[in-house]
Subunit: 157 residues, 2 copies
């Protein structure tokens, strides 16, 4: 499945989002390529596996080509073994707000202390409700790409 | 689908293999990563698309982890647009010999003049019939990896 992913990304100020979360899922992921122009991600999300390719973002940083296919967890585990150093672990919380779903990632390991929220939009200028816990926008800032967090984790900033 | 790919690779001395070929198929392929430790290949082979990940080879160069999934030609074409420079084009001939199938690639474009034959084996020491047209063995020589031919094509050697 492929589409243009339009999303905005924010820092998170408090853990208040956890009270509004409807799910939390552990994610382990690695990268077969961390180049922002052709990122290749292998992910185990709960009991499911995924392989995802993303292209470069547009100028505003909101839109990237994304192609994803589901694979077995066993296949994903084998592919993660081939990945570059810097396997990421995080817990993803789904937080519904109005007609949008925020995905808030609480990073573990070398990125512990980092909380990032993303909201997927149907077009770049779409309005959305901003919860109190939402912090500064970091859309398009490459250091917050997961691929870059695997190379230069938050603890080293 | 994943497996350990065991194969040996040879130069090809003459075009006599074409008389024995049972099929020929045009292949266009690019790489989302050319690193021999985590090669990510996108291929359009005739009317089918594939995404393939290969790991590092063993010491003798015969064996590599390989994972492959079939994708649509449209998806493959979009992913090829994201690939590193150096899209490869070649015609693949299937040449049966005894109980083995040789795959002979006649490269086009920047690799024109290069002919490479591969034979897939079930174990490293498996014997196989050597046709007259088979030349010097180049198994494990990284410059003959397709990923490396896309970076440093035969015409530049």
């Amino acid at each position: 499945m492929e589409h243009l992913e339009i999303e905005r990304k924010f820092l998170v100020k408090t853990e208040a989002f956890k009270q509004q979360a409807i799910s939390q899922t552990r994610i382990v992921q690695g990268f077969l390529n961390t180049d922002p122009e052709r990122t290749v991600r292998v992910r185990i999300k709960g009991e499911r596996g995924f392989l995802t390719v993303k292209g470069a973002s547009n100028e505003s940083g909101t839109t990237r080509f994304e192609w994803e296919t589901e694979i077995s967890v066993a296949e994903a585990a084998n592919l993660i073994d081939l990945c570059e150093a810097g396997i990421l672990e995080k817990v993803r919380f789904e937080v519904p707000l109005g007609k949008h779903m925020f995905e808030v990632d609480e990073f573990l390991g070398e990125n512990k202390g980092l909380l990032l929220a993303e909201v997927e939009l149907t077009h770049e200028d779409e309005r959305f409700e901003r919860p109190d816990w939402l912090g500064q926008e970091v859309t398009g800032q490459v250091q917050y790409y997961n691929s870059q967090l695997s190379i230069k984790p938050f603890k080293e900033w």
